[in-house]
Symmetry: D5
Amino acid sequence: MLFHVTMTVRLPHDMPAAEADALKAREKALAQELQRAGTWRHLWRVAGRYANVSIFDVADNAALHDTLMKLPLFPYMDVEVQPLCRHPSSVHEDDR
Amino acid sequence: MLFHVTMTVRLPHDMPAAEADALKAREKALAQELQRAGTWRHLWRVAGRYANVSIFDVADNAALHDTLMKLPLFPYMDVEVQPLCRHPSSVHEDDR
Amino acid sequence: MLFHVTMTVRLPHDMPAAEADALKAREKALAQELQRAGTWRHLWRVAGRYANVSIFDVADNAALHDTLMKLPLFPYMDVEVQPLCRHPSSVHEDDR
Amino acid sequence: MLFHVTMTVRLPHDMPAAEADALKAREKALAQELQRAGTWRHLWRVAGRYANVSIFDVADNAALHDTLMKLPLFPYMDVEVQPLCRHPSSVHEDDR
Amino acid sequence: MLFHVTMTVRLPHDMPAAEADALKAREKALAQELQRAGTWRHLWRVAGRYANVSIFDVADNAALHDTLMKLPLFPYMDVEVQPLCRHPSSVHEDDR
Amino acid sequence: MLFHVTMTVRLPHDMPAAEADALKAREKALAQELQRAGTWRHLWRVAGRYANVSIFDVADNAALHDTLMKLPLFPYMDVEVQPLCRHPSSVHEDDR
Amino acid sequence: MLFHVTMTVRLPHDMPAAEADALKAREKALAQELQRAGTWRHLWRVAGRYANVSIFDVADNAALHDTLMKLPLFPYMDVEVQPLCRHPSSVHEDDR
Amino acid sequence: MLFHVTMTVRLPHDMPAAEADALKAREKALAQELQRAGTWRHLWRVAGRYANVSIFDVADNAALHDTLMKLPLFPYMDVEVQPLCRHPSSVHEDDR
Amino acid sequence: MLFHVTMTVRLPHDMPAAEADALKAREKALAQELQRAGTWRHLWRVAGRYANVSIFDVADNAALHDTLMKLPLFPYMDVEVQPLCRHPSSVHEDDR
Amino acid sequence: MLFHVTMTVRLPHDMPAAEADALKAREKALAQELQRAGTWRHLWRVAGRYANVSIFDVADNAALHDTLMKLPLFPYMDVEVQPLCRHPSSVHEDDR
């Protein structure tokens, strides 16, 4: 099942650089692991903003929530979720 | 180049059904043509709303505009556009 | 899977009363059918507004969308959807 | 009487983890007590966000307020309240 | 139980004056009846706008909803409802 | 002259409890003094939020401003003011 | 007493030109009469919009409301009102 | 003096095509005349929307207003105006 | 040329009182100097809020910007600017 | 390709002046370098606010993002991006 997720990151200005870098590194590692697993199907950067638009392919709502809550940057994110489904005009078989 | 486009459709309540159906049929035909051409890379329905989230792959801003303006439903849409680019954590080569 | 759906209805002022009543009757019939089927798990009126808050229990996003699109009042609704999942503090087994 | 309550939690980033965990533990204990008492009738997690949607069954507005004010996380919440009542299309007897 | 209700009225511009006047007359009659009954405890005009702020004293949410739905102008109103309760600093006994 | 005032209080999380309690005690004392003087005509708690809705009866705008600025909690409040006047449907003589 | 009033005018597109012109002529006549009377103290056009910002000098809220309700364009306006009072840094005696 | 103006056009759906085309032709003619005169310094299309972002170079606010009010499409536009001035980091002499 | 400026002041809660008072004293001195010079034509307090509505009479946008940037409280303000011009119904000669 | 970018800067109040000045100096140097390179085509100050409106001329979305992310003030900015393209009424050849 597909979910459209927008994540806007706001790190505290006074967070030490080393701590921020470590956080981002852990975030990147988990994000890439989830992409290779097919869970995090698409991950795009919104040009000009510390934000991304992503498409998650998960079993259900709970799986989506558990996945997002595990992201190291989650506490510093504003997250918006929209459930997606196959568009009647879509030519793709697997965009269910 | 990728663009994230959200389209919310609001057809006038008093539009005759036949006219609306014809409009939607023309919209579907063009949407499918653009998807097969690779321009309209992704087209998903937002569950519960007469709206879609789409990813367009076009040469530049002008190409995006021309493509959207030709959609039969364009005059009845609220459209939001966000330019996308490759996320540093993306494992996909072509999500540029 | 549970979805939180808010529906605000705005019927055109110039819709003939008979047409509106027929529409509402068909809406009520379908709503009650869906409730008895367990799909429309909860349906509450928001006091003071022509709006309701509902909880749907469906297989996935597509099932939610198909269900909502079939509502006779759908063309006259503003719909907001939030995917729900089980809260870690919930004492209920089936609020998955 | 039923009230629809949306709670979005924003803990300060610099709150020590131990303090946050203790706060959440006390919140969970009280939430479960209220659910078993029937006051907190439904508690769902909004997928992807540190927020919940709840249905409270209380005697009146004052009871609702007193209940919410006692929640340990209350000072860190944005709360929205909507009074609910029985929907004319509801098939449930006790969703008054 | 007290509810704070804001009503903003938007009559269609093309409604015949006679129809509008009749509607307003019926609204005034019912409003005054409800005030004398103690249900509509306070009714103030918001200076500069076709809107009012009111305090309703009703048994519960359902009573509030039924009362508001019967207002002739209800279909032409945007209504916002906030449940009220006694403020700990209030010196009034009956502002429960 | 009547003014509708909504006050939403946001105390800093790191304010020492003793300081907050002292502030609230001074606020309560002044609020009760103003109510007994008839200036603060109505004070209701918005159920579920650290906010109140109040009706002030003052000579003019300047009197309203001076009154509100003296409230100990004023620096920690978001305040919205709406001037009220007698509604043509009001049955009360003194709701001028 | 001074009030800050923002008026944004939205005439229906299908209003006959003659009717609109007559309405505007009556509006202008009354506006100028009120200015000469000192009630409508300032009237400025917001550059680029069919809107004005005005300062009214009236006895009280009711006087403001009655004045605005008599404006021929009132039914076609969105009106925002802010009560003003003398600023402690003002050098003007009469900007009370 | 430079002004940043955003214009979003919303033509009524039921406007006859011929009337709309004539309106747009007159708009284009005036827009090009103003550009050649240097008044309308920049005119860009916002990709994906029937809107433009423009920079006007005019003597003062009144000149801006008179210019915009003469646009044939003005009655069908939402207009936002921001006054601009030379940025301290600008390398351009004439972006005053 | 006239500009409508709304200034909402938000001083940090933890700013020492002495520092805040000094800042306000410098602000008052400059504000009064600008009023006597005719630049700051009107300065009103918005009743109930730490905000003012002002009318500035300056040569152009740059002069407005330079004037506002010099205000000691500027870093702590949310500022909204609207360019004004003479209203066709104004009876005042100098409200250009 | 042209992009319309609005940047609103919010430096933390407690940032030492020297650090802020150094940050601004680096920002200015990079901004001027980008302007001379033709990347940052227009840079205007929004009168009355610590914000600018800019037009960037870049190869694609990724180039825009990389350019903005390198700005020293980027972490302290709210950024809004709109893709632009040539307006059909534009008389300028190079406003593609």
